[in-house]
């Protein structure tokens, strides 16, 4: 009974291996508003001195819970449930947190997909430095160092040590900094940090100019400073693999009302701006951090033979198939169709056999069609969409 080999096919088991497994943690599309954020401060007066920043968050529907960093009642987790969706650490000098929170607690919080804004400052404590280091950001080890830029400082009648920097070296990304161009430079006064070149998750959002360096402004330099030039990052963001987003700034003053309202003129430039770019910069960046922009979801993944509508259980070699998926972006209030021309699908078994760019109908629907390769085996449809600032879409279907 010689069994003739049947035409082998793909066993289409139709089980979704991982359709957006991460979104559910940090970011709930069902209840996207009214999210709770814990704000830890060194001093309650920061609440009023940084009120513009806090007010913009509150006006966007966030529920801020202010606490002193050494408040013994701090707890981010109760009975295994996180009480907050985001954490703002405006406590650069805190040596330790009050209550049950510690560095592991903060990292667990991020590891479970929650967002974090961390502000360091000159004389930042080891705790803050360690948290930043765990996120892939190394603050200058010299605790008295500040970023100095003698060729890129903000002109001021009263500050003469060139540590108030006017930087306009932003990341080129509309999704992170908003589509409106930042006209005025951002004022920064604080410490610089460097990024590990091997870490691909952390991005420099605001970097120093090539003439900047990080040193103690009052002592004489005998050795080259450890951080110089454009490798100094002033503000960085991290998008973790679980789509948790972290913002690390070397300056707490960046968020302050004072610098928000202050006018700015960069040395050597004739443009004088009434208002610094800080407010727009911080507001837009916080929108990104709290997933109000750049958060994608893919739904309605479909594939079928051309001319049919049902999803077949198997494809034979040389079949012509159609594939379509819908991608939406969260706009802060609703899901809007995401329009791009570089979404790609892979027909994948160990390695992609077919990789094709999807064409879009400008309404979020992406589709393509191709011929099934003449290789027998179990294939997956796979979309791996990684773009600067967008959450990573990674889904596959067998």
């Amino acid at each position: 009974m010689a069994a003739p080999k049947s035409v082998a096919v793909f066993f289409a088991v139709l089980n979704l291996i991982s359709l957006l497994p991460f979104i559910a943690f940090s970011f709930s599309p069902d209840q996207p508003t009214d999210r709770k954020i814990l704000v830890l401060l060194d001093d309650l007066s920061l609440k009023s001195s940084h009120s513009i920043f806090f007010n913009t968050l509150q006006s966007r529907g966030f529920d801020l819970d202010f606490k002193l960093a050494d408040d013994p009642s701090i707890a981010v987790k109760r009975y295994g449930q996180y009480l907050y969706d985001g954490l703002v650490l405006f406590s650069p000098s805190a040596d330790r947190f009050g209550g049950s929170l510690n560095i592991e607690g903060v990292l667990d919080f991020v590891d479970s997909g929650h967002d974090l804004i961390l502000a360091g400052d000159s004389n930042a404590s080891d705790l803050i430095r360690n948290i930043a280091a765990e996120c892939g950001v190394e603050f200058d080890e010299d605790t008295s160092a500040m970023v100095i830029d003698h060729a890129g400082y903000a002109v001021s009648e009263t500050e003469g040590d060139h540590t108030l920097i006017a930087s306009d070296e932003f990341i080129q990304s509309d999704v992170i900094l908003g589509s409106k161009k930042l006209e005025a430079p951002v004022l920064f006064k604080g410490i610089g940090h460097s990024l590990n070149p091997e870490n691909s998750l952390v991005l420099k959002v605001l970097s120093a100019s090539s003439s900047a360096y990080s040193a103690n402004p009052t002592s004489k330099l005998s050795n080259p400073p450890s951080l110089t030039g454009t490798s100094i990052s002033l503000v960085s963001v991290v998008q973790a693999r679980n789509n948790a987003r972290i913002m690390i700034s070397g300056s707490l003053g960046l968020f302050s009302n004072r610098l928000f309202r202050s006018g700015v003129q960069k040395i050597g430039s004739l443009n004088k701006y009434e208002k610094s770019g800080n407010e727009q910069f911080v507001t837009e960046l916080s929108k990104w951090i709290f997933h109000e922009r750049g958060h994608l979801k893919a739904v309605h993944l479909k594939h079928n033979k051309i001319g049919e509508t049902e999803e077949p259980s198997i494809y034979r070699i040389n079949d012509d198939l159609e594939f379509s998926v819908e991608i939406f972006e969260w706009s802060g209030t609703s899901w809007v169709p995401y329009v791009a021309n570089d979404v790609q699908v892979q027909f994948y078994m160990m390695s992609p056999y077919v990789l094709k760019t999807l064409s879009t109908n400008q309404k979020g629907l992406y589709h393509t069609s191709f011929k099934v390769p003449d290789v027998y085996g179990v294939f997956q449809f796979k979309i791996e969409y990684q773009r600067l600032g967008y959450t990573t879409l990674s889904l596959s279907k067998q």
Binding site: S6, T158, G160, D161, P217, S222, P352, V354, T357
Partner: protein, 690 residues
């Protein structure tokens, strides 16, 4: 809290922590715009009467026009409370305060009723706040109408009962049951006591006043002080909303002592320095972000503006960065905390300290007063002031000596001054030296700052020398904070060297032999970049000098690898190249006709076979007849079914289905086959026997 407040001040002032002097500017236009921004609500009304009062008071002090709609809505609610007989003490007090500011049209009949009510509650009061509201209310009535007799007869008793709540350290308790004392309560008590003094129908016992003065001096002993002269009253009781803190406590005490100083017949001997420190504290906050804090700040400053005995005067400088090249003049402005003009006085520049050292040069120079802009001008900087960071020490001297008792100047004010200038750069040159002899191989002059693009080449046995000279406008050698030479390899590896100064010259010699290890043995083109900068150098520059071609030896095996360079983050993202599957090319087949011809050839023997059968006269005579024919036909059909099953297996069915069906067919075939064969056997046996 001390530590926290330290950060507060550091964060808010953004003052370099290195100098113990700082500049405080009086209230300015930015406060006004911030106030209008903060205190404007959409519908023109405020939450409570207390908030309304605070907003109105802030507007009044800052001189901002009140919007008429605020007036209407606030008046309505104030009059409602004042006319009602069942209003709480606190509400009455706030309503009277609002009325005091707005002068609402209120039926005068209401006042006597309120007055007697307040007096009653004053007699029954036990907690500090009750006293405060009642006395405060009575004072407000006194100000608003003259028809009501608000004088209290048993002022001594009330004074004593308020005093009974005081603590030995000058703080007060809110009521007798609560052991917690606070500075905030002290301020409230002082305000209440000043009210008692002004309402008293007879003179208060002078010994009571004396103990009160003692209390105030104790209170001031407990003030927290900073190096820069800032003083504040700390508050240990921080309530849940964060409204109470150093700011509110200090504001409360300032209100209290101002009120007391206004009514007390004798001098309170307030420590002028500490009052000035408080003023600096309120100004140092900058522009608070919340309406409440703004009220505390502005209200306290307005109190300080009019405090009797020691009105603080603030010495401020519009600019502390002065350029010697542009011949900037040093301007000093003296005003009260709210920015109004100071009495006639003169400012003297007493000493100049070089930042970071204790050396001081005594100047004792009087600044010229410019009445037009009301600033004091130092027309030319002293000759020994070169570019650099200095601390200037000023002193205020009153033209009329009796002003000394009215104003607090806090002695000498130290202000950091940055004197900047254009630094002259000359004799800049770059050279390649032979290692052993030190003889110059190539030497090029550089134009700093300017354009230069030198092209050098060197091997590891040679040296690179870069030298230049920096002089200040007055001809001194200048040592900048930043003097870096950067070598950048094509692969992105950077090396930074500090250019050190040797005597008059800045010089760096790079001995490549000692640096090959540091350079990771990377030969090739290095870009040279020189950065010279300092906070007082107006022409700080970053200039590419050109490039140097280095010929370094091969790396030994153990040499360190160059560090990985950051990947360009934009290139990390982006679409990947498309992949399309290359299908196997179908095998080459002969044309159709040929295949058909061969098919015909293959099938031909079959026809031959049939023809042969016919030729041999094959017959089916032996085919069973009658009932046995059925079995024979079924048998053959069964065989055909098995064959077609095989065909199905080829096309469609899997092994399991095929085997199952095959089993069933097999049983059937066995049965019919046995029947047929047994019939055939019996027929042939019959033939044999016959």
């Amino acid at each position: 809290m001390d530590r926290n407040l330290g950060i507060l001040v550091a964060a808010l002032l953004l003052v370099a922590s290195t100098c113990e002097s700082a500049i405080f500017n009086p209230v300015s236009e930015s406060h006004r715009s911030a106030a209008s921004e903060l205190l404007s609500s959409a519908d023109g009304s405020f939450g409570s009467l207390e908030e309304t009062y605070e907003a109105l008071k802030t507007f009044e002090v800052l001189g901002i026009e009140k919007k008429p709609d605020i007036r209407t809505s606030a008046c309505v609610s104030a009059v409602k409370i004042l006319s009602s007989t069942s209003s709480a003490l606190k509400d009455l007090f706030h309503a009277l305060r609002v009325n005091g500011v707005l002068k609402c049209e209120l039926n005068d009949q209401a006042f006597p009723g309120i007055g007697s009510k307040l007096k009653d509650s004053l007699n029954g009061a036990s907690s500090l706040l009750d006293f405060y509201y009642s006395i405060g209310g009575l004072i407000l009535i006194k100000d608003q109408t003259s028809e009501v007799d608000v004088h209290i007869s048993d002022a001594d008793r009330i004074f004593r009962s308020i005093k009974a709540l005081s603590q030995s350290d000058g703080r007060w308790r809110l009521n007798s049951n609560n052991p917690e004392s606070s500075n905030d309560a002290a301020g409230i008590a002082l305000e209440a006591l000043s009210g008692v003094i002004s309402l008293a129908s007879s003179e208060i016992d002078s010994s009571l006043i004396a103990t009160l003065k003692n209390d105030i001096s104790k209170l001031f002993d407990g003030v927290e002080k900073y190096d820069d002269g800032t003083c504040y009253f700390d508050e240990k009781l921080v309530d849940a909303h964060g409204h109470k803190g150093p700011l509110s406590a200090s504001a409360s005490i300032v209100r209290g002592i101002t009120a007391l100083a206004a009514v007390s017949s004798e001098n309170l001997n307030l420590p002028g320095e500490k009052v000035l420190g408080l003023a600096k504290f309120f100004l140092g906050i900058g522009i608070p972000g919340s309406a409440k804090d703004l009220y505390y700040q502005i209200d306290a400053l307005s109190c300080l503006e009019s405090i009797r005995g020691s009105v603080p005067l603030i010495l401020s400088l519009p600019a502390t960065v002065l350029s010697v090249t542009k011949k900037d003049q040093l301007k000093v402005k003296v005003s009260t905390v709210l920015g109004s003009a100071a009495p006639p006085l003169s400012v003297k520049l007493m000493q100049i300290f070089v930042s970071g050292s204790k050396d001081a040069s005594v100047i004792d120079q009087k600044l010229k007063f410019d009445p037009e802009n009301s600033v004091h001008v130092l027309e030319t900087l002293p000759t020994n002031v070169d570019v650099g960071n200095y601390i200037f020490s000023f002193e205020i001297i009153f033209d009329e000596p009796e002003h000394k008792n009215k104003y607090a100047t806090g002695g000498r004010t130290r202000v950091p001054i940055h004197v900047t200038g254009v630094i002259k750069i000359d004799s800049a040159e770059i050279a390649i030296l032979e290692n052993d002899l030190g003889s110059v191989e190539t030497q090029k002059k550089l134009d700093l700052p300017g354009e230069s693009a030198v092209a050098l080449s060197a091997n590891h046995l040679q040296k690179l020398r870069l030298s230049f000279r920096l002089t200040t406008p007055s001809g001194q050698v200048f040592k900048p904070h930043q003097a870096f030479l950067k070598l950048k390899h094509d692969s992105g590896v950077e090396h930074i060297f500090v250019v050190a100064n040797s005597g008059k010259k800045f010089e760096i010699i790079l001995d490549f032999l000692g640096l090959v290890d540091k350079f990771f043995y990377l030969s090739g083109t290095y870009d040279l970049q020189l950065t010279v900068g300092d906070s007082v150098m107006e022409n700080s520059f970053l200039q590419p000098l050109g490039h140097i071609e280095l010929d370094l030896p091969e790396a030994p095996e153990k040499a360190a690898r160059p560090p990985p360079q950051p990947v360009d983050m934009y290139s990390r993202y982006g679409p990947k190249a498309e992949i399309s599957h290359i299908f196997r090319v179908p095998e080459k087949r002969p044309p159709r006709e040929l295949s058909l011809a061969f098919f015909g050839l293959v099938i031909l023997p079959f026809f031959g076979f049939l023809a042969g059968l016919f030729h041999l006269r094959a017959n089916l005579k032996n085919f069973p007849k009658s009932i046995h024919a059925t079995f024979a036909i079924l048998f053959h059909l069964g065989i055909a079914a098995v064959l077609s099953l095989y065909a199905l297996f080829w096309f469609k069915l899997d092994l399991f289905t095929t085997l199952k069906t095959l089993g069933l067919l097999g049983i059937f075939l066995m049965f019919v086959g046995h029947k047929t064969l047994s019939h055939l056997a019996s027929t042939s046996a019959k033939l044999k026997t016959t």
